[in-house]
């Protein structure tokens, strides 16, 4: 069903979505399919989809529109993982789950150096320069204070959009805050470590998006290799081309299987890193096979090249990720020097 939705409603408009953004119609369709509060139990207005199936959903959507897949991931993160766990703000959950409004999470956990959003008393101030979907209706903002950190429902005083490298259907930019917040807008305390473990835990969902993108890039390349001739032979007849495509296919299949069985968080993080790397490689190969045409946006191939790197930047920090796993599987003192 998701396959059908993605194929029929996203495939042909994928390029248009990139230009015009994810429309309310698409959000509504995602909502109808129960994908905006996917893993939330039905009792809490969710769809009760199990985690593994949700990963497959993301992978399928990513094959047709990586932007829509990432958007879906982001909305679910807010709704399923954060708002619902915080046992708060039922009305916001419903709004996002229904596609009525959009939400975003403003944090600096994948950055090498913290962004300056602080809370002092009830005063929230500062800005973050790397916000995905800064024009979302709902901002959940990780704010640092002297002791713990807080996740706060806030409204930016100013946003400044920048053209992102990838996921151009989704806005990106700077969001600045300056407001006095009410008590009930504090969603989580000690939000830093809770968010971190959330991100680590959902690493497999990012891996799923990366794999969907990889698969799609490779399939496009195979298709093209069957249409395009050079030196009077089809591209796929050339050994190095079929070898690299076959190799990619194999690695995708391998990681898809690993995705199904990755229960431990360290495995998920490493799978994410590997899948992201694969997606960058697959997009580079696909672009290369398309030659000059691949370098033009018309064929929709260069998009994979940008999206795969942008997804990497958005959802992983190699040093932090590998450090986290090293400490777990080698020694708490690992990765020190």
């Amino acid at each position: 069903m998701i396959e059908q939705f993605a194929k029929e409603e996203l495939e042909n408009v994928a390029q248009k979505i990139e230009k015009e953004g994810i429309s309310k119609d698409i959000r509504k369709r995602l909502a109808e399919l129960g994908l905006l509060a996917a893993t939330l139990p039905q009792s809490e207005n969710g769809s009760g989809i199990d985690r593994r199936s949700f990963s497959l959903v993301l992978m399928t959507i990513a094959k047709y529109s990586a932007s829509v897949a990432y958007f879906t991931y982001l909305q679910n993160t807010l709704v399923n993982e954060i708002l619902s766990k915080a046992q708060k703000r039922k009305e916001e959950i419903i709004k996002i789950a229904s596609g009525e409004s959009t939400g975003t999470l403003v944090h600096d956990l994948n950055l090498n150096f913290p962004q300056e959003v602080y809370i002092k008393g009830y005063e929230l101030y500062g800005s973050n320069s790397f916000v995905i979907l800064p024009d979302a209706d709902l901002h959940l903002v990780l704010a640092r204070s002297e002791s713990p950190s807080y996740l706060i429902m806030a409204n930016p005083v100013k946003i400044e959009k920048k053209k992102p490298l990838g996921f151009r259907a989704i806005s990106f930019g700077v969001a600045s805050y300056k407001q006095t917040i009410e008590e009930d807008r504090i969603i989580l305390k000690d939000a830093d470590s809770l968010l971190k473990s959330h991100f680590f835990d959902t690493s497999d969902q990012i891996a799923a998006i990366a794999l969907g993108m990889s698969e799609s890039a490779v399939e496009k390349a195979i298709e093209y290799s069957k249409e395009r001739k050079a030196f009077e032979s089809y591209l796929y007849e050339f050994q190095p081309i079929s070898a690299v495509l076959t190799d990619m296919k194999g690695r995708i299949e391998e990681m898809k299987k690993a995705l199904m069985l990755s229960e431990v968080v360290q495995d998920r993080i490493l799978l994410k890193l590997n899948a992201l790397e694969l997606s960058r490689l697959a997009s580079r190969v696909a672009l290369q096979i398309h030659g000059g045409y691949g370098y033009l946006e018309d064929l929709g191939v260069e998009r994979y090249y940008r999206d795969s790197m942008f997804l990497t930047m958005l959802s992983s920090n190699y040093i932090k990720d590998i450090k986290t796993v090293s400490k777990e599987i080698i020694s708490p003192d690992a990765f020190k020097i």
């Binding site: 490298l165 260069e302 790197m309 040093i319």
Partner: protein, 377 residues
């Protein structure tokens, strides 16, 4: 104690310095963003580059290091300005005095812009596979065809164009029967259309051009009729060295940006061994790419080209530029967002594609090696 020397002549090093200063001063972030955004051709900067004397083919080393230093700051503007004389070596080597007078010298004076029109929709790297036709008429020649991805396509005054003048004598001799002609953009029947939406190098002008019953006078044929393939291959041997320099410059630019990023952050960050290893690896790769590029250039510039070496330089340097971009991102991550690093990542990819894809380069290299086996046997 040795003839070996890895030092460029002082004159060239001075040009390098001047080129770097020029690029840092003139290729402002604002302009870089502007041309990346609008995909306009940076004609004003091109003129400045001319006036500053960077475009000269007297000592090609000067152009080479300028290419490197310009691309280090911005490959889009850098290449675009220097490539305004694209193809000049063709006339220099094969042109008649009249052709030089009419086309080459004005170009080298910055009065005209030239382009090379070889690639076609159905024939990218496979040069012998082109299907544009140039046929003898009573008065001269008639051109019909379709060219693709032509750099300077809509801004050039004239193209050095390859078309088929006779059917290939056999399957093995597909590269026979191609003829090179100078075709002016403003002639009747020439219709260039700008291609927009490139991943990177958006300051370069790229066009799709159709030619419909274009009359080409006899005096515009370059070299011998039917021998255009060899002329173009000779030219690629030169132009590929410049693409290698473009790659080296781009890679160096990426390292510059990474070092800038690190310099702004607390020392503890850059002292992490993981970061140090990445710096070491990147530096070694750039060093390797630069040496091989210069070595190929010494051959080409002394009229003793080594096609295998040139192809190694082109393919290896392009590979390195892209690899280095990936490594830099692994460290900087999302903080590179909106930065020049992002742009260089997009720009770098073209080096694996134009002037012969990496795949073509590898075939050139291995054919030279296999020839040796054949000779030994």
């Amino acid at each position: 104690m040795s003839d070996l020397s890895f030092e460029l002549p002082q004159e060239v090093e001075e040009t390098r310095k001047r080129a770097r200063d020029f690029a840092l001063r003139e290729f402002t972030n604002e302009l870089i963003e502007h041309f990346d955004e609008t995909e306009e051709y940076p004609n004003e900067i091109r003129k400045k580059v001319f006036d500053a004397g960077f475009i000269t083919i007297e000592n090609p080393w000067n152009m080479l290091v300028t290419m490197e230093e310009f691309c280090r700051v911005d490959p889009g503007i850098g290449l675009s300005t220097l490539a305004s004389v694209f193809g000049s070596e063709i006339l220099l080597l094969y042109g008649t005095d009249e052709q030089k007078e009419k086309y080459l010298y004005p170009t080298l004076k910055g009065e005209k812009i030239s382009a090379v029109a070889v690639t076609e929709p159905g024939a990218g790297s496979d040069v012998a596979g082109i299907s544009s036709r140039i046929e003898k008429t009573e008065k001269g020649w008639m051109l019909n065809g379709h060219k693709m991805f032509i750099t300077n396509g809509t801004v050039a005054d004239h193209y050095y164009l390859l078309a088929r003048s006779a059917p290939p004598p056999s399957k093995e001799k597909r590269h026979h029967g191609l003829t090179l002609a100078i075709v002016e953009r403003r002639w009747n029947g020439v219709n260039p259309v700008k291609l927009k939406g490139k991943l990177g190098m958006r300051a370069t002008d790229t066009a799709e051009i159709t030619f419909e019953n274009v009359a080409v006078p006899n005096e515009n044929i370059v070299g011998e009729e039917g021998k255009g393939f060899y002329i173009i291959m000779t030219f690629f041997n030169i132009s590929r060295v410049y693409v290698a320099a473009q790659s080296v410059g781009t890679a160096q630019g990426i390292l510059d940006l990474l070092l800038e990023y690190l310099a702004e952050k607390p020392a503890s960050f850059r002292e992490m061994e993981y970061v140090q290893f990445a710096l070491a690896e990147i530096s070694a790769l750039i060093e390797a790419a630069r040496n091989i590029t210069y070595k190929a250039a010494t051959k080409v510039f002394s009229f003793n080209p080594d096609p295998a070496l040139t192809s190694m330089a082109k393919y290896y340097a392009a590979e390195i530029a892209n690899q280095v971009a990936n490594t830099a991102f692994k460290i900087v991550g999302i903080e590179a967002s909106g930065s020049k690093l992002e742009k260089l990542y997009r720009d770098a990819k073209i080096t694996e594609i134009w002037e012969g894809t990496s795949e073509i380069e590898k075939l050139v290299i291995s054919r030279m090696i296999l020839k040796k086996i054949q000779e030994v046997k």
